[in-house]
């Protein structure tokens, strides 16, 4: 274990400078490509717009008022959060067991790496191409329906497979499970196998091992994967647009419509609100697993 004396020892001034040197690339990217633009957006959200894409330099809270008082906002968030949660459940349920399988059941390390890479190859094909290919897979004339009908399971093609909430969640899960698998895989592979052996020798059942050793030690990975999945789904617009057949909208897809007609201040206000909401969601997740505290012991 690291020496606990680290905490009580006063920080050398050199440590500050060294840390700032190390964190400088991150800061050099964040400032011009996040901080400044988001400040511009923040300022724009407090200004009026003139219906022709122009911004009038009058301070107003009307944009935020319309965001908070309209029932549409609640419905959009509900819809987006619903997708986020469903995707999270699916990707966690599948991702956890895939990671577990690869770490603990595949004995040959090279084989484990090979199987893992097998799962990543589809992601070398652009996301949009994969999105387009859902139609020949799930459509009425698609592979799935044809296979089901050929084997006699159904006699009418299933309509809900495409252009529905089902299709949206499937597309998200397809795209994002890998973001669950990788952190959980990393976390699990750090678990000392001897701990498991010792537990087994002590006669613990596999369920016990799972509950008391594997899951707590992979908490980090699960939290990380959840953060990734959640933030991507909350910020997405074109998966919902394309896969739901226009049946659903998300917070960002509504933003997209405003931007299409250059209504910047309302879009800015909605963006700022979304930013705050998701940051809070992530802060809550981080509360369960304080990644920073674990790091800077």
């Amino acid at each position: 274990m690291s020496s606990s004396a680290d905490i009580s020892r006063p920080k050398p001034a050199r440590g500050n400078i060294a840390s700032w040197f190390y964190v400088s690339p991150l800061v050099l990217v964040l400032v011009p490509f996040f901080v400044v633009p988001i400040l511009v957006v923040l300022v724009a959200s407090f200004l009026e717009n003139d219906a022709y894409g122009g911004i009038v330099a009058n301070f107003t809270l009307a944009n935020y008022a319309s965001v908070f008082t309209s029932a549409l906002t609640w419905k959009l968030y509900l819809s987006t959060i619903k997708f986020a949660v469903m995707t999270w459940v699916l990707s966690l349920g599948i991702g956890f067991w895939i990671a577990y399988f690869l770490v603990f059941h595949v004995r040959n390390q090279l084989l484990a790496i090979g199987l893992f890479l097998l799962c990543t190859v589809p992601f070398w094909t652009s996301n949009i191409i994969r999105m387009i290919s859902w139609i020949p897979l799930l459509g009425k004339n698609g592979l799935v329906n044809s296979a089901l009908m050929a084997t006699g399971v159904i006699d009418q093609p299933l309509e809900f497979l495409l252009f529905s909430d089902f299709a949206v969640v499937v597309a998200y899960a397809h795209q994002l499970t890998i973001f669950m698998i990788v952190p959980i895989f990393n976390a699990m592979s750090r678990i000392d196998k001897r701990t498991l052996e010792a537990a087994r020798d002590a006669g613990a059942s596999r369920l016990d091992i799972m509950r008391h050793i594997v899951v707590p030690l992979s908490r980090n990975g699960i939290a990380l994967g959840s953060i990734f999945v959640l933030s991507i789904v909350m910020g997405d617009f074109f998966v919902v647009k394309v896969m739901s057949g226009g049946g659903s909208a998300s917070v960002v897809s509504a933003l997209f419509e405003d931007i299409a007609v250059l209504q910047y201040p309302p879009a800015a206000a909605a963006a700022v609100v979304l930013l705050l909401v998701v940051v809070v969601m992530i802060a809550l997740i981080l509360r369960t697993v304080d990644v920073r505290k674990e790091l800077a012991r």
Partner: protein
């Protein structure tokens, strides 16, 4: 006719793919096969039309033309580069990304592809410069629906933002539109069409000529509209007006109560399960129709053609205006000059604009089903058969090929909707930007989450 057949004059085929067709009898088939060969003739004409003396100076110029993929086509840019001697690069973005780019990063674009309503927006934002009417060679040959707002005496509809309304400004740096003809234009029309409904004639046994059929409960669960708020709501408005449920003051600029009525009816229809989908991409609309998932939907003309290429019957409903209702929804894309262009680059831009209207592009997009605003020059690049089919609405005497040589229509087929004159004079409303756009977007999203 005979001058086109005498392609022996052309020794180099422009595209390099197709050799100059042989044979003095010059069958139309070989001409059809070689759109390149035809272009080769015209290319030679075009090149000699421009001053040689400064072609040396402009070799290093690059014009960036940015816009949507059905109007800013790479093949057109390549052809222009060949004919004009300087580089024309095309960049494709979707409609909303384009207008955002023009307004927030004007220095990265040279020629902007704008719809009529976008030209109005861009002008108000001051990112365009006026196009000098005198410098455009073919200006007088542009269809008067754009330049004068009327055709053969019939005044073109002013619902929505018509190209005529968006076209003129009083001086080159004005930020307000001018009503009436002036010497300065905001944009030059480049490609346009009149949209209506597509349907499966084998699954719907009667001919459709009215918008109200789109909301006919008989087709419940098998209808679709498109997922662009400003367009979708106008299609819906055409349906409700056709069904006699409401009379709009201006379908292209609705009042709040008209918007509420339209959206609430749409929500009702959605909850009743009337719509199978609201489509977002071109291919989605093709897929929905071709697979029979929908049998009637708002569609774009080339999508109908794409369904027919698959061997599945699909008809583009002729929705001529009758009883003060019905009519097509028109749109027009055009080229605008960005404000920062000056000097040699500006000269090159004018050369490009002139080249664009000189016909090659017209012939090219015709085979997609889009019309050229200067039909007289486009005619030079289409065979008589193609002209009859695409523009005159007459039955084709031979098979019609798509821009890449794949047969799409058999001999005897007739284009839906009749001649182009018939279609454009029956336009009821144009693609638009409403005063209540923000409110309309909000209500459209209500429809989406319903």
């Amino acid at each position: 006719m005979s001058e086109r057949i005498d392609t022996k004059k052309v020794t180099t085929a422009v595209d390099g793919e197709v050799a100059a067709p042989e044979g003095v009898d010059g069958t139309r088939r070989s001409i059809l096969k070689g759109a390149a060969a035809v272009a080769g003739v015209a290319g030679a004409q075009a090149i000699t039309g421009f001053p040689l003396i400064w072609s040396q100076e402009i070799k290093n110029i690059e014009l960036r033309h940015v816009g949507v993929s059905y109007s800013v086509v790479k093949a057109i840019g390549d052809q222009a580069s060949k004919d004009l001697g300087f580089k024309v690069t095309m960049q494709n973005l979707d409609t909303s990304a384009s207008i955002n780019r023009f307004v927030t990063q004007p220095n990265t674009v040279d020629i902007a592809d704008v719809e009529g309503w976008q030209a109005k927006l861009a002008t108000k934002r001051g990112v365009l410069q006026g196009i000098e009417r005198k410098k455009i060679k073919e200006f007088e040959n542009i269809l008067p629906i754009f330049t004068k707002g009327e055709l053969s005496g019939k005044v073109v509809s002013r619902q929505g933002i018509s190209p005529y309304e968006a076209m003129y400004i009083s001086k080159p740096d004005a930020t307000e539109l001018h009503e009436g003809v002036t010497d300065w234009c905001t944009f030059l029309p480049q490609v346009y069409n009149a949209d209506s409904i597509g349907y499966r004639p084998d699954l719907i046994k009667k001919p459709i000529t009215e918008w109200k059929e789109l909301i006919n409960p008989e087709y419940k669960g098998k209808a679709a509209i498109l997922d662009v708020p400003a367009i979708g709501i106008m299609d819906a408005a055409l349906c409700f007006e056709s069904a006699g449920e409401i009379k709009y003051g201006n379908k292209g600029n609705m009042t709040k109560s008209e918007i509420d009525f339209t959206i609430n009816r749409l929500i009702e229809l959605k909850k009743a399960g009337h719509f199978r989908a609201t489509w977002t991409t071109f291919d989605q609309s093709v897929q929905l129709m071709a697979a029979g998932e929908v049998i009637i939907q708002s569609m774009w003309s080339p999508a109908v053609a794409a369904v027919r290429v698959k061997g599945i019957p699909c008809v583009y409903a002729p929705v001529n205006i009758k009883n003060g209702k019905e009519g097509y929804r028109g749109w027009c894309n055009g080229m605008a000059l960005m404000k920062h262009l000056s000097g040699k680059k500006l000269d090159a831009a004018y050369e490009y604009l002139n080249w664009y209207l000189s016909g090659w592009q017209g012939g090219f997009v015709a085979r997609y089903g889009y019309y050229s605003p200067v039909p007289s020059t486009a005619k030079k690049f289409l065979s008589a058969n193609e002209w009859d089919y695409w523009y005159e609405g007459k039955p084709a005497k031979e098979a019609i090929l798509d821009p890449y040589g794949v047969a799409m229509e058999k001999a005897g087929a007739k284009r839906d909707g009749g001649s182009f004159v018939e279609r454009v004079t029956n336009i009821s409303c144009w693609n638009t930007l409403m005063d209540e756009a923000q409110y309309m977007n909000k209500r459209w999203n209500d429809f989406k989450v319903a």
